[in-house]
């Protein structure tokens, strides 16, 4: 039987084989070869694509270096969403590698946030961690930590150091002995078919009668349309980190073991593939 701790490692080390191709209208001095890279599911595009940028800048004119941005089949990819979420939401049922188009011009202001430096990624990441702890522990755990502990979370993510990260993150995953779970579960539910960016609501891991709430309970409450009716046909996949957890899984367990490093469960609701 797999140890629960193994799940943490599987989540951390998940990778997506990706092929980066320069947009055809970008002006180059030579032919731009595609660039292949294994992307960490738990990280952010602008944090792990320095090599991609360097590769394409080599074939471009020196003065054309404006902000890099990424797109998949016409959809600009939000760098501030974790990579695994972007893939699950947009490309999980297509053949690998994931084909991403690289742009340097015509930054889509309406769709993407700017990412001028790594500091912006760090600030965004830490804000998410803080928001998650506000939901889980009324911010008590994150506020009790020192600045260096916050830094260690970021450095662990940036340098792909599982042990360094979890030395601090485990504290954010604990709850007082008298409680059977967090106050509320930090989660976001994404669907490409709606215009809303995501659904995020207050949801308790433990019901009034002391029973552990499940993933199915969460869906019924916040997105009933995603739940397959009793005798109905399964229309959607409910995906986290590329897999469909059983709907009977307690959300407390999911929160502790399958959250992204920002401590949120980012859940994709995607159409059931037809083949």
């Amino acid at each position: 039987m797999t140890d629960d701790k193994d799940v943490l490692r599987d989540v951390w080390f998940g990778r997506i084989p990706t092929c980066f191709t320069l947009y055809q209208d970008e002006i180059t001095e030579r032919e731009a070869e595609p660039y292949y890279l294994l992307l960490p599911r738990i990280s952010y595009l602008t944090l792990v694509t320095d090599k991609v940028k360097k590769h394409f800048q080599k074939v471009m004119r020196q003065d054309d270096f404006t902000e890099i941005w990424f797109e998949y089949e016409g959809t600009p990819l939000k760098w501030h969403y974790p990579i695994g979420l972007l893939f699950d939401l947009h490309a999980s049922n297509t053949a690998l590698p994931w084909n991403i188009t690289v742009h340097f011009k015509n930054f889509p202001e309406k769709d993407l946030l700017h990412c001028p430096s790594k500091d912006v990624i760090e600030a965004h990441f830490m804000a998410c961690v803080k928001e998650a702890d506000a939901l889980k522990h009324k911010s008590q755990v994150i506020n009790e930590m020192q600045k260096k502990d916050h830094k260690q979370l970021w450095m662990g993510l940036q340098n792909d150091k599982f042990d360094q990260f979890w030395a601090i993150n485990r504290k954010l995953m604990e709850c007082p002995p008298e409680d059977s779970g967090f106050r509320y579960i930090p989660f976001r539910l994404y669907q490409v078919t709606t215009e809303r960016p995501f659904i995020q609501k207050l949801f308790r891991p433990v019901a009034a009668d002391g029973q552990l709430n499940t993933l199915g309970d969460l869906l019924k409450e916040v997105c009933p349309a995603a739940v397959t009716p009793e005798d109905g046909e399964k229309k959607n996949q409910v995906m986290i980190h590329g897999i469909e957890p059983m709907l009977e899984t307690p959300v407390q367990w999911l929160s502790e073991h399958m959250s992204y490093p920002d401590n949120f469960l980012h859940i994709s609701i995607i159409p059931q593939p037809t083949d």
Partner: protein, 142 residues
């Protein structure tokens, strides 16, 4: 439906990126929005919003440090308004220069992403029927 009494400084700035839709929640006989607010940068275009996304939520703005205090602190804001939209609105109201930064905090602990919708923040962090947001010209809580 009566026209919403818009702040003069806002309606002059409209031009497709205006902040119509905000209105003081105390005083004024506002009963509805004259036209839907245009989407602010980063927020998706809403199609046929459901009844509850049309409803506005109450936001209480509190200044931090030596940041100027808004004369009107309580605002009724559409749920789909983004944090960036709110930042732009406060900056205009306080007559700050575009290059000046403004940070918004929830629970005096975290700064939400600029594309976060205030409706979601209200759902998760609102209390006593309102969402309290602190704003500051410098980073107050990291």
């Amino acid at each position: 439906m009566a026209e919403v009494e818009k702040q003069p400084s806002l309606s002059a700035q409209e031009g497709g990126r205006g902040e119509c839709g905000e209105e003081p929640s105390d005083g004024g006989a506002a009963v509805g929005v004259a036209e839907p607010a245009p989407p602010s940068a980063g927020s998706p275009v809403t199609e046929e919003p459901a009844e509850d996304t049309k409803k506005k939520i109450d936001i209480l703005l509190k200044a931090v440090g030596d940041t100027p205090i808004m004369k009107t602190k309580k605002w009724a804001v559409e749920r789909t308004r983004t944090i960036q939209g709110l930042i732009d609105f406060i900056k205009k109201f306080l007559k700050l220069v575009a290059s000046e930064q403004l940070f918004i905090y929830v629970n005096q602990s975290f700064a939400p992403s600029p594309d976060q919708e205030v409706g979601t923040l209200y759902e998760c962090f609102g209390s006593d029927g309102k969402l309290v947001l602190h704003y500051c010209k410098s980073q107050a809580w990291g």
